[in-house]
């Protein structure tokens, strides 16, 4: 046990090392993250392309959000951003729902002690595998397998099996609906293993005695799932939901690369693609930084709201625990006061 004097010496003489150890992180983070973020914020109030240096106030925001503003194409700008936001939401929703249902089902199965499943480890390894493959390669892989003509694997196989006519290949890449469904499928393919393992560790954190007790009371596995697993899994589910939403806002590689030819496909344009396309247009000093910046700040605001929800929920537990402790201490104090007859 350190005496008060010892701990005072410790805090006096070693505090500077604490700052030294954390300094590199903060220096690099400010230089490469905070300043670019502030700079993006500044750029969102400046013009686009040739008017890069011009200060335009909220013009970019009003063009993107409401389709009103100085430029003649303002309505088009708004339309494109709204479509990108819509696509982002549709693609996220379309991959999150099947992904969470599949992962939850698999996680429950894999953690069920009664089910005898051989090769559990192997299944986990294979199902997680897509997650580590480069997203750019995944896009290339699926474009090459699901090409739009009879010269590609999936269409050719479907024709041979007689599901579709040779003259009528499915437009997996160019078709507006089919390409969206494909991106949802690929996203699910990429992420269900990861979500499954996260949920599994959550389920394994639930005390087995709860399941045993439910078994003895005669609850079947469906009842156990809805009455025990799901309620106790809620924190980790919320965490998965929020991280997936923030990840969904960032969805870039796959929608950007899932196309034929040189240009990305507009029907898959997400907000991240919109931002990237705008600040990458033309030469580096002539790009549309204003629109890119304004869209980034909008995304930042959405992320901040989502992030603070999780932050609040994580902090809540500690706060509640502390409050309880404080109340308990107060009660004890009061009891002592009564006993000793002390009064303030």
């Amino acid at each position: 046990m350190a005496s008060a004097a010892q701990s005072r010496i410790k805090s006096i003489s070693y505090a500077k090392y604490g700052y030294m150890f954390i300094a590199p992180f903060f220096l690099v983070y400010c230089f490469f993250q905070i300043w670019p973020l502030i700079y993006t914020f500044i750029l969102s109030f400046k013009g686009n392309q040739a008017n890069n240096a011009e200060w335009v106030g909220f013009d970019n925001y009003s063009q993107i959000l409401f389709g009103t503003g100085s430029s003649q194409g303002a309505a088009g700008v708004h339309e494109e951003f709204a479509r990108a936001l819509g696509n982002t939401f549709v693609l996220w929703f379309g991959n999150f729902i099947p992904q969470i249902l599949l992962s939850l089902l698999l996680a429950v199965w894999f953690t069920d002690a009664k089910v005898k499943l051989p090769g559990k480890g192997f299944f986990k390894i294979v199902m997680y595998m897509p997650n580590i493959i480069t997203a750019a390669s995944v896009a290339a892989l699926y474009v090459n397998l699901f090409g739009d003509s009879k010269y590609y694997f999936v269409n050719s196989t479907l024709m041979k099996l007689g599901f579709i006519a040779e003259s009528d290949p499915i437009q997996f890449v160019a078709g507006p609906t089919a390409s969206k469904v494909m991106v949802m499928f690929i996203q699910t393919w990429l992420w269900f293993g990861n979500t499954m393992i996260m949920l599994m560790s959550g389920i394994m954190g639930i005390s087995p005695s709860l399941f045993e007790a439910a078994d003895i009371d005669g609850a079947n596995s469906t009842q156990q799932f809805f009455k025990i697993t799901l309620p106790l899994l809620q924190p980790i589910m919320v965490y998965t939901l929020v991280t997936s939403m923030i990840g969904g806002l960032q969805m870039f590689d796959l929608p950007y690369l899932y196309h034929n030819g040189a240009n990305f496909s507009k029907q898959l344009e997400t907000v991240a693609v919109y931002i990237y396309y705008n600040f990458n247009k033309g030469t580096v000093d002539q790009a549309s930084y204003g629109f890119a910046g304004a869209a980034s700040i909008i995304i930042f605001a959405i992320t901040a709201v989502l992030g603070s929800i999780t932050f609040y929920m994580n902090r809540d537990k500690d706060a509640i625990a502390k409050k309880k402790q404080r109340k308990k201490a107060e009660k004890q104090m009061k009891a002592k006061m009564k006993q000793g007859g002390l009064s303030i």
């Binding site: 580590i132 959550g202 196309h259």
Partner: protein, 309 residues
């Protein structure tokens, strides 16, 4: 007698139910395994067929004999009597997808970033857990707060800033920012809190060890498990990071593997499907091989992240 048989029946029924459920689950798992593996298998199979064979019959399930030819095209190592078209195809692919250069660039970027990430994150975590100072909890709250900010949000300013610093086509904007990895720090702080006894630092101090040396020679070896897990994830995510790399590296000499794949995908003439498949195969090969070697470790790491966060 009747009660006995009744119990037997119940038990058999229960067993049968469990068996049926297990088999159903097994079937679903096998189907999912196939969905995960078949695309990769077809990819590898198709990279061993020539473009002509694939045009005649694109649905091939077994290995062909043209892997060598495809490799020669990709390396631009055709025989002298090859046709003009073949030479044009070979020139196009070899100039865009130069395997060695791509691997090397990706390896430099991913390797250096990983080293910086784990070293400096361990250092920051050490600073936050071992020392008591005024801004300690404020710094930790800040790190948790910024953990979820997506890269896209600051990328417009980042590119413009790097451009003004003349760091376009440089590895510096891809490697140095790796020093600041809030999520890794968060993981390492929670690891240190649970399994790093602070008495050891006191003991080292009494023995006259300097603070930095204590960190390098005592803390780092003790944090090996956490460092290894985070190193793998940092390496994979840096190797796969198409977004930032494509933003910064405009010159073909600095192209990394993901950039090369995306360029091959954008070809609209002189396409050779066999070589296309080979490019994709080569791009995923290193990471898949490493994955299967370290898979158990990686799965455990993912599960750990799930519990911690």
């Amino acid at each position: 007698m009747s009660t006995k048989s009744q119990y037997g029946e119940v038990k058999d029924d229960y067993h049968k139910k469990i068996m049926a459920k297990s088999i159903a689950i097994l079937v679903v798992c096998i189907i999912l395994t196939l969905i995960c593996l078949v695309p990769i298998y077809i990819l590898i199979v198709n990279s061993t067929h020539s473009s002509n064979d694939l045009a005649q019959n694109p649905s091939r399930f077994f290995f062909g004999t043209h892997l060598g030819d495809n490799l020669k095209t990709l390396m631009n190592n055709l025989p002298a009597d090859a046709s003009k078209t073949a030479k044009r195809v070979a020139a196009q692919y070899s100039s865009t997808f130069s395997v060695g250069k791509g691997y090397l660039n990706s390896l430099i970027i991913a390797g250096c970033s990983t080293l910086l990430t784990v070293f400096f994150s361990a250092m920051t975590a050490y600073g936050l857990t071992v020392y008591e100072f005024k801004l300690n909890s404020a710094a930790y709250t800040f790190i948790i707060g910024v953990m979820m900010i997506p890269v896209q949000v600051s990328s417009a300013g980042f590119v413009r800033f790097m451009y003004s610093l003349k760091l376009i086509n440089s590895f510096i904007p891809l490697i140095v920012p790796a020093i600041a990895a809030p999520a890794v720090i968060f993981f390492m702080v929670s690891y240190m809190k649970s399994s790093f006894p602070l008495e050891i630092v006191e003991a080292a101090r009494i023995d006259g060890c300097t603070e930095f040396r204590t960190f390098v020679t005592i803390a780092i070896p003790m944090m090996k498990p956490a460092i290894a897990v985070q190193a793998i994830f940092a390496f994979v995510s840096n190797w796969n990071n198409y977004y930032t790399q494509n933003m910064i590296l405009k010159n073909a000499d600095y192209s990394t593997v993901p950039i090369m794949v995306s360029k091959v995908l954008a070809f609209d003439k002189n396409i050779d499907n066999g070589v296309n498949y080979l490019c994709v195969t080569l791009s995923i090969l290193p990471i898949v091989v490493v994955y299967f070697i370290l898979s158990k470790f990686i799965i455990a790491g993912v599960a750990l992240g799930g519990v911690k966060e």
